[in-house]
Subunit: 340 residues, 4 copies
């Protein structure tokens, strides 16, 4: 099929390449001409503007937006007037599903089809394939199946699940029509919420391992410091690169995230090149909002999000309030922070 | 009664004064002669050593230790050989109740009575009185009742609870024999665990109020930053000193901790004189341990403790792991921390 | 002043009574005629309909809505057409502040003034007074000061905060103009979020105390049960009614919520008349949403909310997933739940 | 090598089989003669008693205990007197590492070598191999390498980590000498703590997906129920078996635990055969204790543990306290729990 790709960042450029490798034709566009230039390759021609992009595509057109969620609406405002009835717009980025529901209705009034695709795979997706969570009208999604099939990792990317009878479920290929508009990004949102939780679980556990030698440190005895009662229990200098490599084989907690962690620790066992200011890019927050609306308890997923906020110093005023209270009732004076 | 006070820090010195005001006689001792000198007053004579202290007390002696938990055992090791059968040793500090159980058994072998008293009240206790949670043998605790009664705030410190029939319950005076040795510090431990949770609840809420104007800030649109969808909902510049003062009257969340917070914010609305490195002094940790042993879920109390750890930078390695993972799967590069 | 009260439930009826006691005139209305009948008293006349209510008030009218948040908009739809320019509508319930912002703009177009008042005090408010958090235009709020002053607890409801110079701050009376429309309910929302956290802190701590005797129970030794390593540390049968009464005097965690808890435990030490299905009425949820929008970490406040969800069984599917996983990797078969 | 296996439950029997498949000789023993009978196979002979077991092994003997943590000490008490200097005892179960430290010292006095092995792999370990985290003296661990190598999954169990130079690190085979006695179980403890967190992250996320259709339910409007503001956002009936299958390919959250979850949901999409009472078997608890001792914040790992406690009803009294408080200040009466 022919597809126009709008947005040639980390994700979009690689996806176009995976599509042409699968014998689809791409027209690629980005606000930055350099990005367009870099993305042109056999099977993928560049476009100098949205108009140019649209003019190079045969109707009914397929346009895939791979943009930061914050700029999708402004791009749609420019793009949609150039389209005609029957064209298909896919948002493959990390939009909030509320926006999908709204956009789907807006575009339907113009007989343009809107499809939302939650895309997981990251920078490794070109090789590993992209896991695609899709929301939209059934007919449109079916029409796009060749695209999805090429982008997806394929059945061989995982061992078969016992009991599955080769029913031809597209989930077994790595893409799935999850429901009406918004369903794709809803499922992707929760996927990322889970991702935050899993990442945080590894991070906290590794932090415990890293401090397993606290019993070797000299301790202080004053009213502001809790003494370690059993220093003899914390005498281990553990090798985190080896331990994470170990866990990759046979353990219950093996995962791709662990593979990445083992790789990062191998390069830099103390991770001293990172400051530890952890961004969050929307889905983690919206996951909490959805849980709150649904009355579903999510203590783990929320803890993961809030740890990221705290990593960026957003707990500062809260901590100052605690110190002020402690001085108020106990006369406690703050001690300097412990260096890591 | 006559009582020897060991440890003349923030708490011990004031307690001696409250006792003499109630017509008890004190002999006061501290490792630091200056502290002894400062604590001498009509009704309270100083001691130059533990020997001197013990020699000035009539048998059966009553000795009250008001020391950091970390140094109680070494002080007992010096003190106990100076005592004789029938003497009473009270640990009024913040000892772990496991130690009380052990010490109680050790001293019993020498026919010395051990009483643990969890003491709440802080630096305001001289005026407000001390809330006393007591563990030990019934007879010994009853013998000490005059002491406890003087230290406690008295019935007038709170409005009567509807339905109480003036039974003479000592809880209505502000002291209580909670159970055998260790029970006093067990109850005090949980008291402090609760205190951490309550303090954290106020602190988090005030942090939300303080940032109620985030919609006024210019926002960034990139893949690392979640845009604020509705800046118009966050346009409030709230006056925290006034709001905390307000809540002191008639609201459901009125409390002494709120009183102190209102006072602190009045003096310094941004609390800029605090760094926000919040100590924890043992009971909060032991509370979590007890909950884990009992299989009692304590998501709030544990969150309060872990926030204190994080306030001191103890989450640093964990955060670095997250940043390393994010770079691994998404090519994400850290952004600088947001200044408060 | 003259005021029309709409909604005569637990809160509205008592507030009308407190207003007439303060020499204001009330016209009271409720959908249920019985409620109107019960609320009529010297100074407060009844109305048989919204029309009747409006006709009995002199312009510029003051109408106070004390209704469940879910029905405010439908009531406003009926009420507003009956009003005229210059009238004032106060929403004293627990509306979401987003609605206040919208309503304020809608009513402004009709030259009707909208004021949002977060009201804390509960069923005890008639006696103790109501803590009022107010949002709206400055002039309108000032006009209503006599009403607020009467409803508020007054300065004597709390001890003076050291350092306050009797500036005539209304916060010292128990009411405060917090900011423009929505600010009142924003502050009340966070107030309730804090309330959830404080309540949960007490609840978790009391649960630990209640199980301080687990060491007396016979334990099981199988692969599905963690044995209690030190039963000797959990031999305390603690008296919760006495302990909560004790903490009311002199302790750091004294509060009105504790007073209520001591009263409830006095009546029923095991609380066996409660099922423990804990409702949440909106503000707790919105507090989390605000924190997420502001990027403020709230691990405690969110834990408190999620515990309420779980108390109503909303964690059921999540728990089933865990059991299914455990069976998958470890062959673990569920054990029956432990009876309390 | 020759090895005696004590404990032929889910794990021990399979491990013996994997060892004999690798040309080691086993003598197998269990308290239950039926278990011994079932475990005998070519290469593995049965023993009728500990004495019989020991007598069938050549010195220096290697004994592997695969028992519930709660019964290891009593088994050691029977076994050790039968051993002689130079023999090796391996605890491959889930012992607390504190016990390893103690036992290591006790057995060293008898010149018996003690090795602790944290073993992950579950019921699938016979096929997949076991991930082995080992603590003990270097010489002893090296002596046992052939055993560990056979039990471990081997290098092919995971893709190579980029940058590893085939150094012959045993971690790349799936076993690792982590440090002195206790280090194996320490690392396994944290491994399981992480496992709890990861499992909980999936479980919470799936619970959100399952309730994505709450907007289709009829809602109630009263003061005890928070209305869903946007039912149109929660109209999705999501197919969890398909979604979990989907995520197995190409997504960031792929893992073995996800594979198992997809399998369980395929068999039973509503998991109605599970009650959702989730056991915890020690390591999750000890992980929290270690974190508390080290002052490492673990909001996620602790939330995972506490959710398990709550799943078994251990939050009941806490919830009753909340309901009692709500009735106290607001006159709120409990509503019946929402059926799932």
């Amino acid at each position: 099929m022919q597809l126009g790709m709008i947005g040639l960042g980390r994700m979009g450029a690689n996806m176009a390449r995976r599509l042409t490798r699968g014998d689809h034709q791409c027209v690629v566009y980005d606000l930055h001409p350099d990005a367009v230039k870099a993305a042109v390759h056999p099977g993928a021609v560049g476009a100098s503007s949205l108009q140019d992009l649209v003019s190079q595509l045969k109707a009914p057109r397929v346009l895939w937006l791979m943009l930061p969620a914050a700029v999708v609406d402004e791009n749609l405002a420019l793009l949609v007037p150039l389209l005609e009835a029957g064209d298909i717009v896919i948002d493959g980025g990390n939009s909030y599903y509320h926006d999908d529901i709204r956009r789907g209705a807006e575009l339907k009034a113009k007989q343009i089809h809107y499809v939302d695709v939650g895309t997981s795979g990251g920078v490794a997706g070109f090789d590993r394939g992209y896991c695609l969570m899709i929301g939209g009208e059934t007919e449109t999604v079916q029409h796009l199946a060749p695209i999805f099939k090429t982008l997806a990792p394929g059945a061989d990317a995982a061992t078969p699940t016992s009991g599955r009878n080769k029913s031809g479920s597209s989930a077994e290929q790595g893409y799935l029509h999850c429901g009406p508009q918004g369903a794709g990004h809803f499922v992707k949102m929760v996927h990322n919420g889970i991702e935050y939780g899993i990442m945080g679980a590894y991070a906290e556990g590794l932090n415990i391992l890293r401090h397993a030698n606290v019993g070797k440190q000299k301790s202080v005895a004053d009213a502001e410091t809790t003494p370690l009662r059993h220093p003899e229990h914390y005498q281990y200098d553990l090798d985190l690169p080896e331990i994470t490599e170990l866990w990759r084989r046979g353990s219950v907690i093996g995962s791709w995230l662990l593979d990445l962690t083992a790789g990062a620790l191998l390069k830099d066992p103390t991770l001293e090149n990172y400051a530890g200011h952890v961004s969050d890019s929307g889905e983690g927050r919206w996951t909490i909002n959805a849980a709150v609306d649904e009355a579903v308890p999510v203590p783990i997923l929320s803890a993961a999000l809030f740890s990221r906020f705290s990593s960026r110093g957003e707990d500062e005023f809260s901590n100052k309030v605690l110190s002020a209270m402690r001085q108020g009732f106990g006369g406690h004076v703050e001690k300097p922070a412990k260096p890591d």
